[in-house]
């Protein structure tokens, strides 16, 4: 608790620097990752994330120091080479893209680990701290490193906002962008460069192993909350920044702990919450919607059967028991009772002792469902030439989805027909 207070009072300028740095890195990865995801290049992001490791090691081996700009250049070069190789393999051989990606990913990561082990063996590993590139270390972001990576992160966000509408268009419809005469090749090159740079900077906080998750997860989580690219990008950035903040906190309280797994765990929890609880796209909201639809269908079916029974007995408002209803059409007993309750509350039926009867409103609604059912049966047999004994099943579903506009269109098209294919009267 005490550390939490100290941390969030931001009294130590070091803490402020680390926090701002970590948030910038994760937010910029999330912003670029939004377009990586929308362009369906998530796997490619993963390959690049692993392919930068040999570059970092080589840059260090060749220069003997770990100036951040040198490491960025090294990472950028091998990151790019991996992309070129993936494209080349896919174009020139029978190997499919996903296989090529897996191939490049594992080979380059293997080479990276090999080089890293070599550096450690030669004894100057302690001084380099290169192994923090594997799992990230937000707290190491101080001084020169912070400046360089902070500037790159700001640059990334700036580039995405400058080219926002073009990036959006090539993600949605690249052919159309080309037809408009936009420089599609250059824009693709730009997006790829941004992806590589985002990976290179992001690994400072998250590490090579989990970087792909950092790139894609915020965007995937944000997608649940909005249907607009701009909002999606902003939400992803905020989510990314929040996980970066959490990572910085962990790094502050437990300096030996790698921050990457923590950051990715936080962003994954956010993604899980989005997956379950987001309105309209989340699965809970989706299943509630499903349930509502099920209820509606059952209610309409009940009103329809009540109307139909009334038609048979020529007494539309006669009282029916639950058993009579079940004999007419099978409804499981419990859901039937609750559906009757709902219909009563909506004023479509009334109850007296054991019997249920339609109200005037209920009869009108039941009549409409019967009408739609018979209209659709007639439509199927007239226009689709489907045999009369095959049209019932289909009409059972369609009767619940036809809108008033379609209803009018059907009536007009068939000129207010009197009888359905089974010679039952169509009620108006």
């Amino acid at each position: 608790m005490e550390t939490l207070r100290t941390f969030f009072s931001f009294s130590d300028p070091n803490i402020v620097a680390v926090v701002v740095g970590a948030m910038l890195l994760t937010a910029s990865s999330a912003v670029v990752g939004t377009f990586t995801l929308l362009k369906k290049k998530a796997l490619v992001g993963d390959a690049v994330a692993h392919a930068v490791l040999p570059g970092i090691c080589l840059a260090f081996l060749l220069s003997g120091n770990k100036h951040p700009l040198l490491l960025i250049v090294g990472a950028f070069v091998t990151g790019w080479i991996s992309l070129v190789l993936i494209d080349y393999i896919t174009a020139k051989s029978k190997i499919k893209e996903d296989t090529a990606i897996a191939l490049i990913l594992s080979v380059s990561f293997g080479v990276g680990i090999l080089l890293l082990t070599y550096i450690q063996k030669t004894g100057n590993a302690a001084q380099t701290g290169l192994e923090s590139f594997l799992f990230g270390k937000a707290a190491a972001l101080v001084g020169q490193d912070l400046w360089v990576f902070g500037v790159v992160a700001v640059l990334l966000i700036l580039m995405v906002s400058l080219f926002f509408k073009e990036l959006k268009l090539i993600a949605f419809d690249e052919n159309y962008a080309a037809a408009l005469g936009l420089p599609v090749r250059a824009l693709n090159l730009l997006l790829t460069s941004l992806t590589v740079l985002a990976v290179v900077t992001g690994i400072q906080a998250v590490g090579v192993v989990l970087m792909a998750a950092m790139l894609i997860t915020p965007a995937a989580a944000a997608r649940f909350w909005t249907n607009d690219v701009l909002k999606m990008t902003i939400i992803a950035a905020l989510m990314g920044a929040f996980s970066g903040l959490a990572g910085a906190f962990v790094s502050y309280t437990a300096p030996t702990m790698p921050t990457g797994p923590w950051i990715v765990m936080i962003i994954s929890i956010i993604a899980l919450i989005s997956f379950f609880f987001a309105p309209s796209r989340g699965i809970i909201s989706k299943s509630i919607e499903q349930q509502r639809l099920q209820f509606l269908i059952m209610e309409e079916n009940l009103l329809k059967e009540l109307y139909h029974l009334g038609e048979i007995d020529e007494d539309p408002f006669k009282r029916r028991t639950i058993d009579e209803l079940i004999a007419k059409r099978f409804f499981p007993r419990l859901p039937l009772k609750s559906a009757l309750g709902r219909l009563r509350r909506q004023g479509y039926i009334s109850r007296k002792e054991d019997g249920f009867q339609l109200t005037k409103e209920g009869r009108t609604k039941g009549k409409r469902v019967v009408k739609l059912h018979r209209l659709w049966e007639l439509y199927l047999s007239r226009y689709m030439k489907i045999a009369p004994d095959h049209v019932h099943e289909d009409a059972e579903t369609i009767e619940h989805v036809i809108t008033p506009a379609l209803e009018a269109e059907l009536e007009r098209l068939m000129d207010y027909p009197e009888l359905d294919p089974h010679d039952s009267k169509i009620p108006y």
Partner: protein, 274 residues
Amino acid sequence: MVRRSTQNAISMKIEAKEVAVEFHDLTVSYDKKPVLWNIDMTLPKGKLIGIIGPNGAGKSTLIKSAMGLLPLSSGYVRMFDQALNDIRQQVSYVPQRETVDWDFPTSVLDVVLMGRYSKLGLFKRVRKADKEMAMACLKKVGMEAFTKRQISQLSGGQQQRVFLARALAQDADLYFMDEPFAGVDAATESAILDVLRELTTQGKTVIVVHHDLQSAAAFFDWIVLLNMRLVAVGPIEEVFTNHLLQEAYGGKLTVLSEVSELIKKRRIPSRERY
């Protein structure tokens, strides 16, 4: 007037100043395998022109190569007697509906606004005037009530109309459309047709890929019959003959496809360079 050309295809001579598009000895290949052979024709201005042919005939390939989206193995395409790059602003393209992911997080209005991007240029944001223009185009196709709708919530016919509105927003003189009538209901079909007709009465040229023979006869002024090669091109009454339709639709051109396969296997360039 109608004559047999050297490619054994019926084609019409039109005066140079009346030409909207000229395909000159065009051959297009995918991965070395030619799918269009020696297309040589001129299409007139101000007409509603249907490109007709069976599945896999190369209709989409033809208009993609006209829009500069594919490398050409040989030949060239000119529009209004100019190269495409010089008059791109005057040419508009409607891709096949299935080529994009309709679950993309964007709204109807945003998609139509994309039609303004080339006029806007890099870095510029859409202005009020662009929005008004996009709204007017949506109104033309009867979609003004769906402006804010997410595109995945549209029916197939509505998606098709949004694509059409986007092309209209370019305010071009020449339109290439890939199957704008595919998967639409009767009402949408006639709504789209009205819009296309209106364009041609304004003197604009509309070239439409279409695969339904029956409706083609009623829709178009001119017809291009295609099946890997040009079968015939001309006014509808001259091209829509039993004999020519048979030629276009009468089975796959087995010899041509087989030769294409061979070329691919042996990696022979479809056109010799020297």
